[in-house]
Symmetry: C2
Subunit: 419 residues, 2 copies
Amino acid sequence: MIIEILATGDEIRTGAAIDSNSAHIAQVLEQAGLEAIRHSCVGDDMDMIVSVLKEIGNRADVAVVTGGLGPTSDDITAEAAAKAKGVELVLNRSALGVVENFFKTRKRAMSPSNKKQAMLPRGAESFNNPVGSAPGFVLKIDRCSFFFVPGVPFEMKRMLSDEVLPRIEKLRGGTGELSLVKTLSIFGPTESVIGELLAGLSAEFPEITPGFRSKFPEIQVKLYVRGKDDQVLRKILEKASQSVLGKLGENIFSMNGSSMEAVVGGLLAEKEATLAIAESCTGGLISHMLTNVPGSSGYFLFSGITYSNEAKKKVLGVSSEVLQKYGAVHEETVKKMAQGARRVAGATYGLATSGIAGPDGGTDEKPVGTVCIGLATPHDVKGFRFVFPFNTRLMNKRIFAMKALDLLRRELQLKSIEN
Amino acid sequence: MIIEILATGDEIRTGAAIDSNSAHIAQVLEQAGLEAIRHSCVGDDMDMIVSVLKEIGNRADVAVVTGGLGPTSDDITAEAAAKAKGVELVLNRSALGVVENFFKTRKRAMSPSNKKQAMLPRGAESFNNPVGSAPGFVLKIDRCSFFFVPGVPFEMKRMLSDEVLPRIEKLRGGTGELSLVKTLSIFGPTESVIGELLAGLSAEFPEITPGFRSKFPEIQVKLYVRGKDDQVLRKILEKASQSVLGKLGENIFSMNGSSMEAVVGGLLAEKEATLAIAESCTGGLISHMLTNVPGSSGYFLFSGITYSNEAKKKVLGVSSEVLQKYGAVHEETVKKMAQGARRVAGATYGLATSGIAGPDGGTDEKPVGTVCIGLATPHDVKGFRFVFPFNTRLMNKRIFAMKALDLLRRELQLKSIEN
């Protein structure tokens, strides 16, 4: 079954918005053992949409189309679908029900522009949108069944899983072909070093297709395998993962696609340990990452974002002497900051960052990209210094934060092995 | 000039990675008055890449292609380009220079797999990559000039601006057609409310094409205009923006695409005011947003991420009585937190959040989505409570943070008007 994805909308065509919808759809299909072979995007232009719908209609069996179902004047997808099939737009009673129901359950007045959302191509089958006013619909154009859903991500996601995927699976019938993937997340070596370390993998496991994804600052190695027997595929994936683990060792921080913050959070929870943080150059990013993990209030006690030296002294108890002698960006200073955060919050571990994220503030001795990281444990305190070769403030904040969390992860895993 | 964008790579095709490259390329072209009319994406599959290159070669004048130029086994774009043109791969001396230079300046050893990156289609013109090992190249296939660049975002971005854009502008010659866009950023009303408020805009300004972009939790209204006279276009855009401003008022926080954090930072800097924050439910996100703005150390003094009640007491001086009487999520508590942060840091303003981001912790009285925000000024302190209807932790953190910054923005702008 040939599947394609089409995103419509000037905001995506012009790059004002990044098309995260197509990635989500591809991923959901992939997890169901279905493969989207191609994505396309065109703007809110009638001729372009009609032409690409005809093209895909002639090439694919199934297509998922996002965008252009809203109430505003640039929402023209339903009309384009009607033109591509050569039918007219008609008021779809079932679609009207979806729109009316949305406003009724929310006790909001329905505006005339929302009625437009129930005008669908003749022959279209509409389906429900449980979280928005725009109904979805299926329409066959040429050989292809097109599934039209709104471009608003949370509406699209819900309708994809509830309405679209079950219908596509029904169209597929029982081919029984499975596609499994395993994700190993790595922090440290570069992509080309990883590529070379894993050069022999395809020879060792011919069934596996490896993929490399740079998700700055981590790199993911994805192992894809296809076949009919779930058990057999899982065994191959497991063996191949172990082989990768043997080659990359503790640079791998996750074998299941988990984020660094989730891994660190899991280790803290497992040990019933708590954490306090003092962030300077990372400006709250480490705290934000950690608190994205549900349940983080169980181990994350406190973070002081101490941009000013005053705050470093007052909140963390770093002495004026230390700040004068070493400056704000120094191993000794971050050691005191980590100890201060740990003490203030009464936490098991204290983690601290101070560095130069840029674009200004760099010197010859401490260029932009320099970060000092302090890690206070129940037994000792360590100070580190690294210089990363990135030029942007955001990239520096991200790699500084990741490096700090990775140092804590290695400390926690070391303790696991010792105990 | 018809321009298209093509992204290659299984990580994008399968949705493992989101294609932010194509959006960036489209945006850079747009800013240069060039319009990409279509994006495509295919995986690391020789036949698919060859076929889509031929298709585009027959349809467009210029195409920018990302991905597949790396040293690993799944990098096959150069070979596919050679096949699509019907030529062979040859060692490109100038490309080899780029690869060798990369390793030489970094004092790193070049590995054999990197040599592959200099094997380009016969007839290709290579260009420099100042930040990575993969050279880019231009190749004409059928009627279209294809610009091939790596998929690593920071390499692609640099090569796009330094090498690709100047070459495309040369190809365009002097058609003189301009495309201008103005972005108005809104926080508050929903997209359909905005759409209805602006329903008359197209009639009032027929030259303007409006676009709506939901960039949760903000909504952007983009005004596009095309023509030959820069002065005339700018006047139309200015008039149309003023009309939108009249309709949406202070819900518009930026008229130039700036982020909320940049706007708030700008207002603080302008007033020589400083800020301290106490974050509970937003977990560092407000601090992270503010410190993404270069120069934020000039006004951002301190933030206490006080997840635990202990930290609220110890660091911010919130009394046990207040916490017992009102609980952590309450207008009175966040008022004390805001005052505490302001006092500890000696800042002009104090901003505090406490709420329930979910997925757990909600009650009938304070459901998931509830946030209390405190704002301490030199004159007074205010407490607010809002309940947002979103279900995910991340969406809640984002809208809580945005709401807090928006309250501060309105306070700062109010003061501007009063003074």
